[in-house]
Symmetry: C2
Subunit: 166 residues, 2 copies
DNA sequence: GTTATTGCAAATGATTTGCACAAGG
DNA sequence: CCTTGTGCAAATCATTTGCAATAAC
């Protein structure tokens, strides 16, 4: 967990008059141990391996808190659950590409894109608050060579697969 | 309702061995009477004024059907319900800007954007299937002049307002 | 007559919430 | 102590589904 994260979190807790609890610590620890996207359920699984037990309610409450604190970004991949992105601090403006073969999420940044978005928004008479580009794509390798490295990885890691459309 | 819509729908019904029913007619009629976006619930309200009564189940089932037929596009505005877009035929590639002041949805197209998206996707080693740019923005007029024409319109029409985040 | 379609009510599944108890500061 | 946090179970809310009755073709 970055120092920056800890600093921000403490500032937020102090400012809001909140309290430090073992549950919150465990959750924050679990989240920022890696920089991977996750769903509440995936996080819940990760927490099962911890000695601190929390309830789902607390999990959800803490996720809201962290979003409010600006430490997590909620992203909606349209699969019926909220995905959380812990990389918001380092990369404030990034977009997502979802591989429909394996459900893997790639992040990318693009300056042209941002400029263009800004132009479009202004042209329409608005002031941009948040822009989200979501690309659904299939792996070129899978099409041409019959295998998708992400798909294989996903199988190994038992990651979320293509996913029910709701 | 456009001739094109009717043609496509009939083709789809024939091809799939489906049947024409008064419920489906009423729903399709209600949808394509205007070119506005709508949620299942808004459509349900519109249908209450009709003499043909349908159940919510049929409503949802028909919406899925029409999406499958390519006559509707599902768009996810992140407000916990699916919004449907009947303008897909005329404008196959359009993006959405959501006004956070009033919830109004503006559609826009942009060739640069499409080219750029294509580039980015290819650069990442993928083949693009679907791209969605969603911009959340606030009305420039509301900020500078204290009024948002859409907001006023929304009040008059009792449209969906900013909306709970779920 | 088959087979697709409908309506109802019950099921789902992610997330939220009321409430009594527990525990930070 | 006083207020915030937690766990539990029940509540939401949009959407889906099982099933028996109905209606296309």
């Amino acid at each position: 967990m970055t120092l920056e994260v800890r600093k921000r979190l403490n500032a937020f807790i102090r400012m809001k008059g909140l309290r430090h609890t073992p549950q919150r610590n465990a959750i924050v620890e679990a989240i920022f141990a890696s920089d991977e996207h996750f769903t509440p359920d995936e996080l819940w699984e990760k927490l099962r391996g911890t000695d601190t037990r929390t309830s789902r309610a607390t999990l959800y409450r803490t996720l809201s808190l962290l979003s409010e604190a600006g430490l997590l970004q909620e992203i909606d991949l349209g699969d019926g659950q909220t995905t959380y992105d812990p990389n918001f601090l380092e990369k404030p403006a990034h977009n997502h590409l979802v591989c429909v073969d394996c459900g893997k999420i790639l992040e990318f940044e693009d300056d042209h894109l941002e400029v263009l978005n800004e132009c479009i928004t202004r042209r329409l008479g608005f002031h941009s608050i948040k822009q989200t580009l979501r690309i659904e794509a299939c792996c070129e390798e899978l099409r041409t060579e019959g295998r998708c490295p992400n798909l294989i990885q996903a199988r190994l890691k038992r990651q979320r697969l293509p996913g029910k459309k709701r």
